[in-house]
Symmetry: C2
Subunit: 397 residues, 2 copies
């Protein structure tokens, strides 16, 4: 063994001793699930199960496939996470046992999912072959499908899939330029209301926290499509024309997710596309009220649960920073520098902590949101999305 190899072996042992696995908590323990969550470890196809009461990584669940762009929803009892992989896989992770309870590859390429209001049906939005597939949340058996064909009869990619009140799903058809509202009370025979000609190439969609308004971003146009689910007969209207383009459009380094829209006290905080700004929008009139200058192109703008702060992360080359907006004054009050590639922000349910994925540091940082100070750090391999079980109790995730 050469000296270099020996050094390598010693380093490997030292790393193993300090790796997350070395300090794992016992699995299968009886405990509450309200303070649990998962962190997506993109490169290794695993998730870390974490708990927020003591900011601890509990254990690693492996074997989840391609987790680039992965997201998750939770069972209504908070015990299981349903992880949607980019490779079309749907994995049901048992947070108490730290195991993959069930798993199937349900499509060739998928882009997120939702869980029905009653928690009985998990829905997956697919790129290939398009459409929405419905699964029994307990068994993952297929219980239905919504074939998403546009007016021309061609199948369409589905994006922006969310659950809505009264056992509905809402989603957008990327290729067809439509928004559909499906009633899945009987998943084998879903009934669908189609809104056509909503604009070209909707690429993502979100629901406001009250479950009333669905908003779809349009890749093919400079504006946003809005549907009021309380007034479906009014149809879809266009809002925020010009929101993505200024007089001198900038190159877009990363398209902001619409789930990165923050909502606070009747205001929306919306990452501008390609500009170093967040838009402030009235959620009643859906008009722009102003803009807040930032240090880079925003990706996610996430409101603290009480709406008093909005935390923003950025596209390259400013993705080492997080800025905190004070909502009452609509101004930036802090610029944090957690490290390179801050990919996601998740607040604890009552907002006392913010958890940040710092990908290139292989670390999740936990901040006290009042003092704006880091209070803990948790090892994670190339962490991206962070999802806490409190999402199970929220509408539109």
């Amino acid at each position: 063994m050469t000296a270099w190899r020996m050094l390598g072996a010693i380093l490997a042992i030292a790393l193993a001793a300090t790796s997350p696995a070395a300090a794992e908590s016992p699995r299968g323990v009886m405990r509450g699930t309200g303070d649990l969550g998962i962190v997506i470890e993109r490169a290794s196809g695993s998730v870390a199960v974490v708990e927020t009461t003591t900011a601890t990584r509990l254990y690693t669940v492996d074997g989840l496939g391609d987790l680039s762009h992965a997201s998750a929803v939770f069972s209504r009892d908070g015990r299981h996470a349903y992880v949607f992989g980019r490779d079309g896989a749907l994995s049901k992770v048992d947070l108490l046992r730290g195991t993959v309870a069930r798993r199937l590859v349900q499509a060739g390429n998928s882009i997120g999912g939702a869980i029905s209001q009653d928690g009985r049906i998990v829905a997956v939005a697919n790129y290939d072959p398009g459409g929405v597939r419905l699964f029994d949340a307990e068994t993952l058996e297929s219980v239905g499908e919504i074939v998403a064909a546009g007016a021309d009869g061609d199948r369409s990619k589905v994006v922006g899939l969310v659950d809505a009140p009264d056992h509905k799903l809402v989603f957008a058809l990327y290729d067809a330029g439509e928004i559909w509202v499906a009633d899945i009370t009987e998943p084998a025979i879903p009934t669908v209301i189609r809104h056509r000609d909503i604009g070209r190439l909707p690429y993502d969609g979100i629901l406001t926290p009250d479950g009333r308004h669905y908003v779809a971003g349009l890749f093919g146009e400079d504006g946003v499509a809005l549907l009021d689910l309380w007034r479906p007969a009014d149809g879809v209207r266009r809002i925020l024309d010009g929101y993505g383009r200024g007089q001198e459009p900038l190159p877009v380094y990363k398209m902001p997710h619409l789930e990165g829209w923050a909502s606070s006290g009747g205001l929306g905080f919306i990452p501008a596309v390609g500009r170093h700004e967040v838009l402030v929008v009235s959620l009643t009139g859906w008009t722009e009220l102003g803009r807040i200058p930032l240090l880079g192109q925003p990706v996610f703008a996430v409101a603290r649960p009480d709406g008093r702060q909005v935390w923003v992360n950025f596209a390259h080359p400013h993705n080492d920073a997080v800025q905190v907006i004070d909502v009452p004054t609509r101004s930036v009050v802090a610029t944090l520098r957690p490290g390179r590639a801050v990919l996601h922000i998740e607040f604890t349910p009552r907002g006392e902590q913010a958890w940040l994925s710092v990908r290139d540091a292989d670390r999740v940082d936990v901040y006290d949101t009042r003092r704006l100070q880091r209070i803990a750090e948790i090892p994670a391999q190339k962490p991206s999305g962070i999802f806490f079980t409190a999402r199970a109790a929220r509408i539109g995730y």
Copy 2:
């Protein structure tokens, strides 16, 4: 044994066989806690532990003392309920084991409590000897006290105690006519901001769901006190003068709880005092926008979590009814008749079910909120308050 006695014995056996205890679920099972809750059984000093996924009573936890007017909050992991009895007792109930984990009598007479934003401190509002006592949520050891003395130095009863963002508690001093905002970051040395002369005899208080506005009802005056926690320097102002009295005041059969105020899309739905109406109030301007006529004196007005419906129960002699208000049209769309003495309404976190306590029928009814139909019933002895663990993730409970 006489025939009557024999009949009595047979009936007792028959009742025991059909009583909730006879069909109890096994305790101490590993499971998620996101779909659990408790039902207060006032007459027997017990709580029923329930789960909402299959609408099932799991087991009974006895020995909780005087539960008239009892309320509860939950640990941040959802495993434990802290039950506040009227007799000054604080009981920590383990929802997974179905046992009383800890219990103490901490005052002579108390009126509810709260849990701090970080879940570490349980606070109890006391009538006798007044003030707020603070306990470690894990051990129930005393960790601090806020002595509530008014400007005259006399101790005051404390009411309307709620948690607020940034590790604060907010409450009202009944005798002193004050609202206090306490920072309990260091519970042994809480710091307090006092708002004096807020009006006579505040009898209850609530926080808006975003944690921004604290509202206290005034027994001694015909109006309501409002504090904007984002602008504490503005102090407390009076709103809704005349809300409790019309030109011909009616006798008040039951004072509405302020926690019965519903909030939906920037609107508040507030039970009028003594009148057969709910007031519709703007939560931005805090002005009255209108009134909705009802069949009796409202007690609780509770919004479905998506805000599209408000459910209202009533004081005697109309307490057998529940009316459902459709928020878009601001009109009553259904009058349900569950049975005599409907005391409380609790929605599942995403709103697909409403649970109603029907005291005189010894039953909790579960309604599908879309079809407005009863879908299940659960036995409970003289049920009053219903509390689900999702409250652990909400602000101001």
